[in-house]
């Protein structure tokens, strides 16, 4: 069973056949012309800001004397980084995000997988309707989603809280223990459909003959789902996990919006919120250093996960 996945990827590779056309002057120019629209914005809006952030992170502010003085920046080596590593708030925001990710990512991807598998069964009718409905939250901008949910969480105005009170429940969605999971719920609501669609697309590309063969061997729908479909789409599951790890570390909109109505979210709740708070205090250099550290942690975690899983899955 396990060697099915590699074969599937090999099929994709062999259809390319671009190798034959390598080299040649006019062709290279054509390729360059097609690639420029990608590389120009990539350099301008990706490499340059990354470089700028790196540069800023090595600077420190100095000041000439007087009550207000005049400030200037100068090279400070790793001074900003030392401050980041000594900042308790930074580490507690990382810890919070870690807890968030360890719970939210598996829950979201498991739900997405179940939904994708359900969509893929012949049992389910009106597929396109369900596919669109499940995907719909992704079309809602994150901030809007957070605002919408913040109304549903708010004890003073929420129909949801009122309804739960009606059946004798008194939830406190914004309480100190619950607010992290309320934010997690918003993320899950936003992204499950998106992840489902990636997994569903992978499921769609599995040749039907495999299922026929499995059925002939007497496999139930359940067995087909867990022993054929899931292993084959493992690369997509890994991909969505990596996206989710990156997304988790970038978490900003949901807690920042919920912060407006809950005093249980501090201005340094997530690493990105901390970076923003520091930057808004005119400490751009420290904010840059925080951002670089977040980026490195994201890189290590996502690539680490990819290496780990791809080795295990034999991909």
């Amino acid at each position: 069973m396990t060697d099915i996945a590699p074969r599937a990827t090999r099929v994709v590779e062999s259809t390319g056949g671009r190798r034959r056309h390598r080299g040649g002057g006019p062709r290279a120019r054509t390729i360059a012309a097609f690639l420029t629209p990608f590389f120009l914005p990539f350099v301008l809006f990706y490499l340059v800001p990354v470089g700028y952030a790196l540069w800023q992170s090595f600077l420190v502010v100095r000041r000439t004397g007087g009550q207000y003085g005049t400030s200037y920046t100068t090279f400070g080596g790793f001074e900003q980084y030392t401050k980041v590593f000594q900042n308790d708030e930074f580490w507690s925001s990382i810890g919070r995000i870690g807890l968030f990710g360890v719970v939210q990512v598996p829950v979201m991807l498991f739900v997405a997988l179940i939904m994708a598998l359900l969509l893929d069964t012949p049992l389910l009718k009106v597929k396109s309707f369900f596919r669109i409905t499940a995907f719909m939250p992704y079309a809602v901008p994150g901030v809007i989603a957070a605002i919408m949910w913040s109304y549903l969480y708010s004890p003073q105005i929420s129909p949801l809280v009122d309804g739960l009170k009606g059946v004798g429940l008194h939830p406190d969605f914004l309480g100190p223990g619950a607010v992290l999971w309320s934010a997690a719920n918003v993320s899950t609501w936003l992204w499950t459909g998106y992840n489902m669609l990636i997994m569903f697309s992978a499921l769609q590309s599995i040749p039907q003959e495999l299922y026929e063969a499995a059925k002939l061997d007497g496999a139930s729908n359940w067995k087909i789902a867990w022993q054929i479909k899931v292993p084959i789409i493992a690369p997509s599951i890994i991909l969505t996990t990596v996206f989710s790890i990156i997304g988790t570390l970038q978490l900003y909109a949901e807690p920042a919006v919920l912060r407006q109505i809950s005093s249980n979210i501090s201005s340094t709740y997530t690493p990105n919120m901390l970076a923003y708070a520091v930057a808004s205090g005119n400490n751009y250099q420290q904010a840059a250093a925080i951002s670089v550290v977040i980026a490195v942690i994201t890189f290590v975690l996502s690539f680490g996960f990819m290496r780990l899983t791809s080795k295990k899955a034999g991909l």
Binding site: L47, V48, V50, G51, Y52, L54, W55, F58, L59, V60, V61, R62, R63, T64, G65, G66, Q67, Y68, G69, T70, S71, Y72, T73, T74, F75, K83, Y151, S154, P155, Q156, I157, L174, P176, R259, Q260, I261, S263, N264, S266, S267, T268, A277, V278, A279, S280, G281, N282, N283, Y284, Q286
Partner: protein, 444 residues
């Protein structure tokens, strides 16, 4: 494919390396602050950029533009992220000629060399007598420079739901002790009713309460800032509110200005509001059903002497790079002293003018229909006279406020006290000044 990826990685590393090398070469280049600006009128037509956050200000600017074809003003509303927008513009060297800056953020922006000194214009120095003294003193940092013109202030007062007070037989509180007693009575009569709310996410409101008690949080002497955020005066205020919070006499679950807050007032769950002058239009516009139920009285005091605090209010600052100082001073004076402009700003934006003549405006000496035709601006005018003029803000106020808010939130969640919040803010004040290379020390 993999070749391309490698090349990109190499490029990124090269770029990063280049950047680091560049950084190594960057030498200190202090730009001179408030260089002798000239005040020559421009030859032709001038267009000024003016950024602000006041509702309805577009109409005020339109009025100016109609009257002054040669000095046109382009307005941009930056309510969304006021200081972020200004900070980024400064960093990019693209600040507008004029921008709205709150009193509490003036020193913060001053340390970023954000302003130009307009004292080269005689009209600018002459404007001093037109403004309430403490506002001028904060906008000029107590010196002879003119970095901003005061626009509005937030003298504080107590907003009272007269009908609820009457129903429960409460007296209008004269002191904070009276107020606590009223809170207790109210809570006894109806546990669903609170005297007010304490928003842990609003350092500005809390700072106003500290200001009322003459808490001198920052002083500059002997080449150093002296930070005493956690002074005895501050602690008195913190302990008072902590007691109300502990006894559950005030709500702590409402963010100021949120739908939730208005809903609580709408549902008659809260009997008063400790607020500033600009709040008058807030209740008028958001709770039209409660017209006639509200009264505005002086803020309760700590002793027998009248004392008040200021919450909010702002200035219109002359920003770095201003090339049309003469015209900017002209527009700024009109905007903040002209009776017609002030009346319009009060009506549309709820601003309480910082100009001394402001309280004598016909619009501000009449009764306000929403408040039972009471002359509410008389209360604010009195309050304005009782504001401690020595109070000054710190140069990293924004960061201090965030830290204060985070710690106040912990206190309302039962993990600490407002006293701890003051200590946290004190530590943050010192640390943030150190980060900005501003010499600071604890205490007086």
């Amino acid at each position: 494919m993999s070749n391309t990826v490698t090349r990109i990685r190499l490029a990124a590393v090269a770029a990063a390396a280049g950047v680091v090398v560049l950084a190594g070469c960057s030498s200190p280049a202090p730009s001179s602050d408030a260089s002798a600006a000239s005040c020559e009128p421009a030859k032709g037509k001038v267009t000024l950029q003016y950024w602000n956050t006041v509702p309805g200000m577009d109409k005020v600017v339109a009025l100016w533009n109609k009257k002054n074809p040669d000095i046109q003003v382009q307005m941009k509303n930056i309510s969304n992220d006021q200081y972020g927008t200004i900070g980024n513009a400064l960093k990019a060297g693209k600040a507008p000629e004029l921008a709205q800056v709150g009193y509490d953020e003036l020193p913060f922006l001053r340390t970023q060399n954000a302003f130009v000194d307009a004292s080269a214009c005689s009209a600018a120095t002459a404007a001093k007598s037109a403004f309430v003294p403490w506002t001028w003193s904060q906008a000029s940092f107590g010196g002879t420079g003119v970095f901003a013109f005061p626009q509005d202030t937030g003298p504080m007062a107590l907003y009272v739901r007269s009908d609820i007070f009457k129903k429960h037989g409460l007296d209008i509180p004269k002191t904070w002790d009276d107020y606590a007693a009223d809170a207790q009575k109210l809570h006894k009569a109806d546990p669903g009713l609170s005297i007010t709310f304490f928003d842990p996410n609003n350092a500005e409101a809390f700072n106003g309460l500290l200001w009322q008690n003459s808490a001198q949080m920052y002083q500059y002497s002997g080449d150093k800032w002296h930070v005493s955020v956690a002074s005895d005066q501050s602690k008195q205020v913190a302990d008072y509110w902590q007691k109300l919070i502990d006894a559950k006499l005030v709500r702590t679950d409402l963010a100021h200005g949120s739908t939730q807050m208005y809903t609580a007032y709408q549902k008659d769950q809260i009997a008063s509001y400790v607020g500033a002058a600009w709040g008058y239009s807030m209740f008028r516009d958001n709770l039209p059903d409660q017209a006639g139920k509200w009264s505005i009285v002086p803020m309760p005091t700590w002793g027998s002497n009248p004392a008040s605090g200021d919450w909010g209010g702002s200035t219109v600052a002359f920003m770095k790079g201003n090339k049309h100082l003469y015209e900017s001073v002209k527009f700024n004076s009109w905007l903040n002293t002209d009776p017609e402009a002030l009346a319009l700003e009060n009506k549309l934006g709820g601003l309480y003018p910082a100009a001394t003549a402001g309280s004598k405006l016909p619009a501000l000496s009449q009764g306000v229909p929403y408040y039972n035709n009471e002359k509410i601006f008389d209360v604010f005018a009195d309050s304005s006279k009782n504001i401690d003029t020595d109070f000054s803000w710190g140069p990293t106020q924004k960061t201090v406020n965030l830290s204060l808010q985070d710690a106040m939130a912990k206190a309302t969640a039962g993990k600490g006290t407002l006293d701890d919040a003051l200590s946290a803010a004190q530590a943050t004040a010192l640390k943030s000044m150190k980060d900005q290379a501003i010499p600071a020390t604890a205490g007086k």
